[in-house]
């Protein structure tokens, strides 16, 4: 077991290095650096001035060297200009060059400075992650039980009418990406001109114009049912169908096993067969699927936060990418890549723990 975990961790570190290098390479392409030079320096810089700005701010040299600096395994750059002022990657503001650290990369906790939010990247990423954490938590609370119940109900009697109708629902939700379901949910529940809100307002059941709020900006301060339900549903809906279908497939397979037939022939009630014999075996596969669903959720989070104007991690990523904020984008990527890899690891290890039939060599 320890061997297995160690090997998985090794592959994970390798993957993380490769992925962050790709992101570093793509964000530090020459056109992006030129754009950065023009926004940080002056828009009317000559091409020559841009080139020297890039050189003087530590963006010159080989991409591997800069990546190593960013990571914190190579000494940060230090340059002394014509006036005798020494500046460097690790020298902040007017700090003395002599006392500055030699290494300052992601590994040392120096994530750089965000040009959009005008504060350190690590601070803004952590703060936004907190907001997204709430969103994710509610999505999980809604999505996991709903999809498991749907999957088990439709899988326990394959081909029944309940199975058919639940399957259609599951297919329909997987066909509705977040930007579509978000628009439809707003149309039905949060529009002053269409859907159910005008009717409820006319009947005097609600005093405000709309039943739910169409934006989740107010949820940044205080989460209520009325400002948070729509974003949570938007993300959860897309996942529900997928997990439910996986659960159904696993459940139908378990229901054809010999031990289920034996239990039925012994005279155990159908309900007990499902609850005691089938469920535990049927839920192994969905666990993996739920874990692997995290990268997907990340996608949904970005879309939903943009759609509902909820200032979380996804919203930050969009801002960083849209404003060429290289350090912030790199920071977001590190977090995203880590989330994906850690969930993959948990799913692998968890699968082995849950399924005693897998014996490790």
């Amino acid at each position: 077991m320890l061997n297995f975990v160690a090997r998985r961790l090794g592959v994970m570190v390798l993957t993380a290095l490769a992925l962050t290098f790709v992101v570093f390479y793509l964000t530090n392409l020459p056109p992006n650096l030129e754009k950065l030079a023009r926004t940080e320096g002056s828009v009317r810089m000559t091409d020559q001035a841009v080139a020297s700005w890039i050189e003087n701010n530590g963006h010159g040299g080989s991409v591997f060297g800069r990546y190593a600096q960013w990571l914190g395994i190579a000494p940060g750059w230090v340059l002394t200009d014509a006036k005798g002022v020494t500046r460097g990657r690790c020298i902040q503001g007017n700090a003395d060059a002599a006392t500055a650290a030699t290494y300052c990369g992601v590994l040392q906790g120096e994530w750089g400075f965000s040009t959009v939010f005008k504060k350190p990247v690590l601070d803004s990423v952590l703060q936004k992650l907190g907001s997204t954490g709430w969103l994710m938590m509610w999505v999980m609370i809604v999505m996991v039980p709903c999809s498991l119940i749907m999957g088990v109900l439709s899988g326990m009697r394959e081909g029944s009418r309940l199975d058919r109708s639940l399957s259609i629902v599951a297919i329909a939700t997987t066909a509705t990406p977040e930007y579509v379901s978000g628009v439809i949910l707003v149309a039905i529940f949060a529009s002053a001109t269409a859907g159910i809100s005008p009717i409820l307002n006319e009947w005097g059941w609600i005093s405000s114009k709309t039943l739910f709020l169409g934006t989740a900006t107010s949820a940044m301060d205080k989460i209520t049912f009325w400002n948070f339900a729509l974003p949570v549903m938007t993300i959860a809906l897309y996942g529900i169908g997928y997990i439910a279908r996986m659960t159904r497939a696993s459940m139908t397979e378990v229901m054809t096993q010999q031990y289920i037939r034996t239990a039925r022939l012994k005279g155990v009630r159908f309900r007990d067969v499902v609850m005691k014999h089938a469920l535990r075996n049927a839920l192994i596969a969905p666990f993996t699927v739920i874990m692997l669903q995290f990268p997907w959720l990340l996608n949904g989070v970005v879309i939903t936060e943009a759609l509902f104007n909820y200032k979380g991690f996804g919203w930050t990523l969009v801002q960083a990418a849209g404003n060429n904020d290289i350090d912030l984008l790199l920071g977001c990527s590190v977090v995203a890549v880590l989330v994906v890899l850690v969930t993959q690891l948990i799913s692998d290890i968890g699968y082995v723990f849950l399924n005693p039939r897998i014996r490790l060599a």
Partner: protein, 390 residues
């Protein structure tokens, strides 16, 4: 606006139904012929035994025919702006109608007074040209790499699987933000990616024919020669925009989008193909082929691949739907498409900013996208069910 009244919903639906007339005719013909001869049409014919599959096929074909007949269906120029009224509701009559112009905004117009109905119809054409093509490329790449990875195993498999997992671990949206930007076009990365991705169909078909006909050199030379001639001609045009005759070419924006979508999709196909091959290579017919002394590529391409077609066809349908969603995501974030492009994602993005006041500019493309993907998913479900029966 006061002198003329809005159309009622009944009138709007009737007028839309009339505009779609070519689609209805084509659908009726397709279904009549298919149901008449369904016993002779193999898996496609069996589709008409499953109600779910039939509904899915109906939805998909509706949009396919809409894309084909889009020029006849649209009522107005999808890019042009009509009048100064912003966001007129469905059924609004046009002011100052010129002779020969359609007199109503059937489903309203957007904030730039562009006709929503015509934009959605034209959007179908855009989506249905890119999505299936991108999926096909992703499939050919996944199959070409997945077959040897599963069949030979060993180091090749380890390296390829690691690369595939690398791409899969990348959050899709981040990849899009990094790959589909105007700046990246100047660096030539999309062209390099295209050069790598687009060579796979040529390799695939050359190997396919060579593996089968290498015992008969004249025939082999003919097939491989034709493949190379057409393939490399298209390759030069699509990847490098260097077609001497100017038949094959791709807009740099479109190339960027296309390459990214193929790049994101192919690792999943690779994994599926690899899994199927691992399962199938223990079968008797593979052992028989090996005993006969057949080459590994013959066994992979002419023995294993045809037997893996069932799950691959099903996944192909699902993947077109997924690609459609991806293209919509790109449009939704305004990546890689021109601002006035009528594709569904960007139309939803345009419309969502005023969503709480005006629904129609966003909800129409949203429903269109949903129905197409739903159709593809139902079709895949029907195909899966029917292919499992035999």
């Amino acid at each position: 606006m006061d002198e003329t009244t809005l159309l009622s919903w009944g009138q709007i639906i009737a007028r839309i139904a009339t505009q779609f007339l070519p689609v209805w005719i084509a659908l009726i013909l397709t279904f009549a012929i298919s149901i008449r001869y369904k016993r002779r049409l193999g898996l496609y014919g069996k589709l008409f035994d499953s109600p779910v599959g039939m509904v899915g096929f109906l939805l998909v074909m509706f949009w396919v025919y809409t894309a084909i007949f889009a020029d006849m269906i649209i009522t107005m120029d999808p890019i042009a702006q009509f009048g100064r009224v912003k966001n007129p509701p469905p059924g609004t009559p046009l002011k100052d109608v010129v002779e020969g112009q359609y007199a109503y905004f059937l489903l309203g117009a957007d904030h730039l007074a562009r006709d929503v109905f015509s934009r959605v119809v034209m959007g179908a054409r855009r989506v249905l040209t890119i999505a299936p093509a991108a999926t096909t490329f992703a499939f050919i790449m996944g199959v070409t790499l997945g077959l040897p990875a599963g069949y030979f195993g060993g180091k090749l498999d380890t390296v390829l699987s690691f690369l595939a997992n690398l791409v899969l671990a990348f959050p899709v949206i981040l990849l899009f933000y990094l790959l589909v930007t105007p700046e990246i076009r100047n660096t030539g990365i999309p062209v390099v990616l295209a050069a790598v991705l687009f060579i796979f169909p040529v390799i695939f078909f050359c190997t396919l024919f060579n593996a089968r006909f290498f015992t008969n050199p004249p025939k082999r030379n003919l097939y491989v020669g034709i493949t190379l001639a057409i393939g490399l001609w298209a390759y030069a045009g699509l990847a490098f925009n260097a077609d001497p005759l100017g038949v094959w070419s791709m807009d740099p924006n479109l190339l960027n989008v296309f390459v990214s979508v193929v790049f994101v999709n192919s690792p999943t196909v690779f994994r599926i193909v690899r899994g199927i091959v691992l399962d199938l290579k223990a079968r008797d017919y593979v052992a028989a082929g090996q005993t006969r002394g057949e080459g590994p590529w013959y066994i992979m391409l002419w023995e294993i691949l045809p037997n893996a077609r069932g799950p691959l066809i099903v996944d192909f349908c699902l993947r077109i739907g997924y690609t459609t969603i991806l293209l919509g995501t790109l449009g939704f974030f305004g990546l890689g498409v021109s601002p006035e492009s009528p594709d569904w994602g960007s139309t939803i993005d345009d419309g969502r900013k005023l969503l709480s006041l005006y629904l129609h500019p966003a909800i129409t493309p949203a429903l269109a996208l949903m129905s197409l993907v739903l159709g593809l998913n139902l079709l895949a479900d029907g195909l899966r069910e029917e292919s499992l029966k035999d």
